[in-house]
């Protein structure tokens, strides 16, 4: 039973990769149209994938959307609270990259997001060892 599930998952990885690539293209087009809030919503939607390659592919899309944001306050105001936790996980992933511009942007968003969502958001991103990004 577990073997059948595993083979189904590896088939799905290819499907998930194609879905993520389509999502990436959609995010890029939204950024070009200056619709930053829709771009970040598209990027954060969907369950974080299990496979490492899918996670990296997903991160590239989210990274593009995060770097394009200029007005952090406005973005957070219009974002649904259900996306706060997953956004916090992606911010920590961004902070661990070490790239100066990414870290600058992620630090700005982290401060505003903590003010809005509170310490519980940080703790949920630390404690969730199952759904990592």
């Amino acid at each position: 039973m577990a073997e059948v599930k595993k083979s189904v998952e590896s088939d799905n990885a290819e499907d998930i990769l194609t879905k993520i690539e389509n999502k990436s293209l959609k995010i890029e087009s939204l950024i070009k149209q200056y619709k930053f809030i829709e771009a970040i919503k598209t990027a954060l939607e969907g369950y974080p994938p299990r496979d490492e390659r899918c996670k990296s592919a997903n991160w590239i899309g989210v990274h593009k959307a995060l770097m394009a944001i200029k007005d952090v306050e406005g973005m957070l105001r219009s974002l649904d609270p259900q996306y706060y936790d997953i956004l916090m996980k992606y911010i920590y992933r961004g902070l661990s990259t070490g790239n100066r511009t990414t870290c600058d942007q992620c630090l700005k968003i982290h401060e505003k997001l903590t003010e809005k969502a509170g310490f519980g958001c940080i703790l949920r991103s630390l404690a969730d060892t199952v759904n990592t990004v």
């Binding site: 920590y92 100066r100 870290c103 630090l107 401060e111 903590t114 519980g120 703790l123 630390l126 060892t129």
Partner: protein, 150 residues
């Protein structure tokens, strides 16, 4: 430049406030033993996700939490070789007197300049807010380089 430092320290302060939720947890393997789980890493269910906060390529802070202990490792930026040697000597001086600081670790974690180990006993004896203030002030002091003579 100063604004990124402020943001970096705010981020670390917020993460520490959230992560410093420690409770007493006796060792599961050996009876009547009580060990900091973050150092041993024997049981994955007792550990939280480690978090790496980078300010730029050279400065970073690694925060690892577990159920009864929290480890903070810092890497600070050195402008040139001389500063590198001075900072190394200064931090070694502090690390050797780690018992006086209580929360300092005698040896820094591999790849970092200095490490702190905070256990549930420290949280019981000392105030959590003051512990966080101490660590953030330590980083501020390092970044502003009070001990530089230039």
């Amino acid at each position: 430049m100063a604004s990124t430092l402020r943001l970096y320290l705010t981020c670390i302060r917020n993460t520490l406030e959230a992560a410093m939720c420690l409770q007493n947890f006796p060792c599961q393997e050996v009876e009547r033993h009580n060990k900091p789980e973050v150092e041993l890493k024997t049981s994955p269910e007792l550990l939280l996700n480690p978090v790496l906060i980078c300010r730029n390529e050279a400065e970073k802070c690694l925060i690892e939490t577990s159920i009864n202990s929290l480890r903070i490792s810092l890497k600070v930026k050195q402008a040139d070789e001389l500063e590198n040697i001075l900072a190394k000597k200064f931090l070694r001086f502090l690390s050797m007197r780690a018992e006086a600081f209580q929360v300092l670790r005698r040896k820094p974690v591999q790849g970092y300049d200095i490490s702190f180990l905070i256990t549930n006993y420290h949280c019981e004896e000392l105030q959590k807010q003051k512990l966080i203030d101490f660590i953030v002030q330590f980083m501020e002091m390092h970044s502003l380089k009070y001990f530089r003579r230039t």
